[in-house]
Symmetry: none
Amino acid sequence: MSKLLHIIVDHREPNSLKNHLRKLEMNVEEAHLDIADYIISDQVACERKTGTDLIASIMDSRLFEQIDRLIETYDQPVLIIENLTAAFERVEWKKRKKHVYGALTYIFLKRQLPIIPTSKVSETAIVLNRIASWVQEDKSDPLIARKSPKKRNLRDNQIFFLQGLHNTGQKKAEILLDHFNQSPTNVIKGILKSKVIYTKTGNPKGLEGPFEKLEGFGPKYLIENKKILGSSEKEKNPN
Amino acid sequence: MSKLLHIIVDHREPNSLKNHLRKLEMNVEEAHLDIADYIISDQVACERKTGTDLIASIMDSRLFEQIDRLIETYDQPVLIIENLTAAFERVEWKKRKKHVYGALTYIFLKRQLPIIPTSKVSETAIVLNRIASWVQEDKSDPLIARKSPKKRNLRDNQIFFLQGLHNTGQKKAEILLDHFNQSPTNVIKGILKSKVIYTKTGNPKGLEGPFEKLEGFGPKYLIENKKILGSSEKEKNPN
DNA sequence: CTGTAATCTTTATGA
DNA sequence: TCATAAAGATTACAG
């Protein structure tokens, strides 16, 4: 206990919070921080959001890019949410609970970002103090590395790739991937190999080839995506 | 939105909560659960604790064994803390904040157990509903959803398509498109046809094939994108 | 994030 | 075969 716990605080954070930290006998260093509000070690940084801040930043979808930067920069980021209850007392936000809890769920479930609730600045100070205590005093029990959520797995990357096709979102991308043996290459080949059958009067009648028996994919889909994929090698494709 | 979200609830949980869940149009199955209070999938289970429960179980250190069992049993456990604020209003617990927040810090920092705060049962129900939604519904993660600008010409669509490749933005996509005769199909073929040359010690030395003379595309690029494209079934087809 | 509406495409149906 | 309506996905936008 000889050494003071140390914390770097963004200069825009409220003075009351800084004073609370000093009262907890912490060494408070002020700085201009870009990505987090508090830095406790190379790996551990905290973003503090009041309830109103949180909801506002969800609405204009600024929250998620902030979080992305936080996650990319620190191995152990933490999101402190201060006084969420008060925010819900605003009449215009009463009906936004589903949005807010949906966002929180996304944050911890999909992005693996730890959330810790407090109800006022003094409690936030305590939390920061406890985190610093665990991180800076207890070297014997190193932090577990956070599962990295930003790394997409192969399937997600393949779905992402297939979504580049015309009129293809998550749903169709998954159908295609599953139908073509988890191989986007085979999807491409399937598109190129399939042909559109026309009636005598020139209207599309149906499909022939790998896409023949696939529900939800019609002539228009093939025509548009053949265009995107372009001709293979030599021949020019009249349309 | 067609299928009901499903949740298994421990029979000892309050009826008000179950009713809230039903009001959210969830299929509520009651059961005797040993380790968690709510089960949302094989992997996802929730423990719900009111603030007073939480503090009491911290005091007699019963909390940590509960948590350990939870973590051992489920891949993605969640701790829902309901109305922590109220608990601190108890006079005898006013001075325990350091203790409580220390425990919470331990829980998310060392145990990696996500914490989610609510202030009443109705909100807890919303949280459970949102978790079920993310787990059971097939919704597109913003991480893998591709934003697609609206109407564009062919070249833009092709560039957009190629941007689905690993480590490929606007710039690389254009280079590829121009180099491979305005044909994304040829780009794909080029990736599949190119080979990575290794040194005797197993380090990537260079490239061989269509990508050989392309600046800015190295072994890593090829390896990652071969993975995304997947293996192609070997078949001869006159196209 | 969530919800809703507008848009596009496929698919089913009847003439 | 054509025309139209119903069903499904994707895209756009607002709160």
